[in-house]
């Protein structure tokens, strides 16, 4: 395997880490207005992801940085091309991050309500936008002969991409509901379980439609064939199993299943792309690939050494932080930090 392929895989892993982890904390943010009927409940929901959301978000920043370092042309084309969606993503993440820190530092209900809305919008919008962006990556976008995106904002809002956005929002909401049923007690636990039960069917339906649409709108058929292989099939099977585990109140297993579904979706996307990183809908020859968009071999070698040393260390201490905060939270506000 050459270094270009290795970095393609590494970037896929970084996005995967991001969606698995930030996926559930986006989900918690999306569920905030629905499950958090009182201030104490909202505080429990926020505290459930309090120690983790920032570390989770760094997976996205690292994926962006790694894209810049390993495939500068991919970074340049994608970020200048998807300009307005990324701008909206930035705004949403800014409001969300500040909201977690600021929200509980003032008693005024209007102050708190404003930041609660920031958390909700700051979670729905990134999920939607990232779903739209990734679906567009799979479908292909107008890229001209000098690697520049030549479409507009509304090219990105096609039905397939929007479907991808909705699928992301619903899937993360389910992932978040299951996470909450692992982290809460009492009434909140019951409402988190009920949310998971109610979200499951819409998620299955939307994901199946999205999978079917993927056969229509992308070149998955030529890339992976009629039988797309074990990865997408495992992802689909896992979401069905998740429903079973949710009903049996086996939240740990249900969470593992939604994680497999998200992984299946992301890995499938990168399998469709490979070895391309941005598909040109104008001419396949204009597509950016892991070869024509990459850094030099020297840079990739340096970055490989850095990644192989530090990624395991990051995994260790992030894993430890999840271990430290493994206990369920209660509505006793004295025990809440945020």
């Amino acid at each position: 395997m050459d270094l270009n392929t290795l970095w393609f895989i590494l970037i896929a892993v970084l996005y995967l880490g991001f969606f698995l982890l930030e996926g559930f904390d986006f989900g918690v943010g999306i569920l905030l207005p629905f499950l958090g009927k009182t201030d104490a409940k909202r505080r429990v929901l926020i505290n459930a992801i309090g120690p983790h959301w920032d570390g989770n978000e760094v997976w996205l920043l690292t994926a962006g940085g790694a894209t810049f370092a390993a495939f500068p042309d991919w970074y340049a084309t994608l970020f200048s091309g998807f300009y307005l969606p990324l701008f909206l993503l930035l705004l949403a993440l800014i409001l969300r991050g500040v909201a977690f820190e600021f929200r509980s530092k003032d008693e005024n209900p209007r102050w708190r309500a404003a930041w609660d809305w920031s958390i909700f919008i700051g979670s729905v919008l990134p999920a939607l936008l990232l779903g739209v962006a990734f679906a567009n990556l799979a479908k292909g976008v107008p890229i001209d002969s000098v690697m520049n995106y030549s479409g507009g904002f509304f090219n990105l809002l096609n039905p397939y991409a929007l479907l991808g956005g909705i699928a992301a929002v619903l899937t993360f909401a389910l992932h978040g509901a299951i996470f909450l049923s692992l982290k809460t007690n009492g009434e909140l636990l019951e409402s988190a379980r009920s949310a998971a039960r109610r979200l499951w069917l819409p998620v299955v339906v939307v994901l199946l439609i999205f999978l079917a649409a993927t056969y229509l709108y992308t070149d998955i058929l030529t890339k992976l064939g009629v039988n797309p292989g074990p990865v997408p099939i495992a992802g689909a099977a896992a979401i069905l199993l998740a429903g079973y585990f949710i009903r049996r109140k086996r939240e740990g297993l249900a969470f593992a299943m939604t994680a497999v579904t998200i992984s299946g979706a992301i890995i499938t996307l990168f399998m469709i792309l490979f070895p391309r990183v941005m598909i040109s809908s104008i001419d396949p020859a204009f597509s950016l690939t892991i070869y024509n968009a990459s850094s030099s071999d020297y840079t990739l070698r340096i970055m490989t050494i850095v990644a192989l040393v530090f990624v395991p260390i990051v995994l260790l201490y992030q894993g430890w932080s999840y271990w430290v905060f493994r206990k369920r939270l209660t509505e006793d506000v004295e025990t809440l930090t945020y």
């Binding site: 505290n47 309090g50 120690p51 983790h52 920032d54 570390g55 978000e57 760094v58 920043l61 690292t62 962006g64 940085g65 790694a66 894209t67 810049f68 370092a69 390993a70 500068p72 042309d73 970074y75 340049a76 084309t77 994608l78 970020f79 200048s80 091309g81 300009y83 307005l84 990324l86 930035l90 705004l91 993440l93 800014i94 991050g97 500040v98 977690f100 820190e101 600021f102 530092k105 003032d106 690697m147 520049n148 995106y149 850094s295 030099s296 020297y298 840079t299 340096i302 970055m303 850095v306 990644a307 530090f310 990624v311 990051v314 201490y317 992030q318 932080s321 430290v324 905060f325 930090t337």
Partner: protein
């Protein structure tokens, strides 16, 4: 409208804004870590309270720094795609390393610190805030390695139509980084020291939580004096390095139109920018030569001579940066720096002599002096970045070649306006919360005066009673 100008303006707005928060993070993380370490070592509750009180202000500020930092990471690709293509091979690496080494470290351990007071042992908990402090300062190192490449490109070769990395060690050991990194980080320490001293002075003036705030002031005064002395000494080395590596920036910072030997230092220069000449100037003879070379002699090149030289080296073009911006921002930075040196010296004297409460005017002055480091930090970056114009990477790439060709002026204008509005609202919320918690002080029982022996270390506090 001109997309280049708008993209530059957007970079200026978002970066200057981001850097309102970064220096305090760099320094206050270390101060809080020191306070908590003293608590772990001595077991005195007051230091735990200190870590919590200053820690709360640290967190409010930190959140703003983090979220505005995300914009920086995305902005190169969004507004400067040609730049990203041209230097990505060498510039992307430090950014990716920054995220991997620093962002994960600070965010994960900060989560552990905020939520871990009851869950971790005392020592382990103090270790987590040290990890945050180390992460924040490592982050500064890597982003400045990236910035140093723009100031003084090293470790690259021009091949395949772009700047490619050929020597990673040279990139990391860029001579520029060893003057720029200490300057930035120490300026951060100074910022934190003045922030803490200013808030302490506010409470000391009102005789509230005296012991708590006098002790905090003491720690900050010692920390701040070291930091500002080192910033100024290091600034001197940095200026000497600039004479070598970016003489045009130095000439602009001094509004030195004609080469002088020996060179004089400008105290005040009024120029005519349309004619590009000096109208009026008060100068100290030989001082610039002394600053540049540690000698009373030596020529410092002026803007016109450098322009002629650059025309030969780089071809047609205007290589003189916006002189007024560079000149005045340099003066603001240096002026604020020396004002802080004087104040820090006085603070140290107050701590040693124990004469706090008798000087209300001075104490009020310290509170207002919180603004000084912010002025110096902002002016310093404006000088550094505008002084590099017309280059985005010195000698390699000009600003106008760096912008995204597909992004229109309308798009940049829209995002610029929205960013400015949102940033304005967030600044209001941030200042509201900071002043609310800074004014609130600590619960009175926090002073717990009985627990403290009147040891020598405490004489300054006892002197008032």
């Amino acid at each position: 409208m001109d997309p280049l100008l708008l993209a530059r303006l957007q970079f200026a707005v978002t970066t200057v804004y981001h850097f309102f928060f970064v220096p305090l993070t760099l320094g206050l993380s270390i101060l809080v870590a020191l306070m908590e370490t003293i608590y772990v070592r001595t077991g005195q509750e007051i230091y735990k309270q200190m870590a919590k009180f200053w820690g709360k202000l640290f967190l409010i500020n930190f959140a703003m720094g983090v979220v505005t930092g995300i914009v920086q990471e995305f902005q190169f690709g969004m507004n400067w795609s040609e730049y990203s293509r041209f230097v990505g091979d060498i510039f992307g690496a430090p950014l990716a390393i920054e995220a991997l080494l620093a962002f994960f470290l600070e965010s994960t351990f900060l989560g552990l610190w905020i939520f871990g007071w009851e869950k971790l042992s005392k020592g382990l908990h103090a270790a987590t805030i040290w990890m945050v402090a180390i992460g924040a300062n490592i982050s500064a190192l890597w982003i400045l390695i990236a910035n140093s490449f723009m100031q003084q490109p090293v470790g690259y070769a021009l091949q395949n139509g772009r700047a490619e990395m050929v020597d990673f060690v040279a990139l990391v050991l860029n001579p520029n980084i060893w003057v720029q990194f200490p300057h930035t980080v120490l300026a951060g320490f100074t910022t934190a020291a003045f922030f803490v001293m200013g808030i302490c002075a506010y409470h000391i003036l009102r005789k509230k939580n005296l012991l708590f705030f006098q002790r905090s002031f003491q720690i900050a005064a010692i920390f701040g004096t070291f930091a500002i002395v080192l910033v100024i000494l290091n600034g001197h080395s940095q200026a000497q390095h600039m004479v070598e590596s970016q003489p045009m920036k130095m000439a602009a910072a001094e509004a030195l139109w004609e080469t002088e030997s020996p060179a004089s230092f400008s105290l005040l220069t009024i120029g005519d920018l349309s004619q590009r000449r000096e109208v009026f100037s008060i100068r100290l003879p030989r001082l610039l030569s002394l600053l540049a070379y540690n000698s009373l002699d030596g020529a410092v090149s002026g803007l016109y001579d450098l322009q002629t030289q650059y025309l030969e080296t780089y071809g047609a073009g205007d290589y003189i940066p916006p002189v007024a911006f560079v000149y005045w921002s340099f003066r603001m930075m240096v002026g604020a720096g020396f004002a802080m040196l004087a104040l820090a010296g006085y603070a140290l004297f107050m701590v040693m002599a124990g004469v706090f409460v008798n000087r209300p005017i001075i104490l009020k002055f310290f509170t207002w002096a919180i603004l000084l480091p912010y002025l110096a930090n902002t002016a310093g970056w404006i000088m550094t970045e505008m002084g590099r114009a017309p280059w985005v990477v010195f000698g390699l790439m000009r600003l106008e070649d760096a912008v995204s060709p597909t992004v229109t002026g309308g798009m940049v204008l829209t995002t610029l306006i929205v960013f400015t509005l949102v940033y304005g609202v967030l600044m209001a919320a941030d200042i509201y919360l900071l002043s609310k918690y800074a004014r609130a002080g600590v619960p009175d029982d926090g002073e717990a005066p009985d627990e403290f022996p009147a040891s020598g270390e405490l004489t300054f506090a006892a002197a008032q009673e």
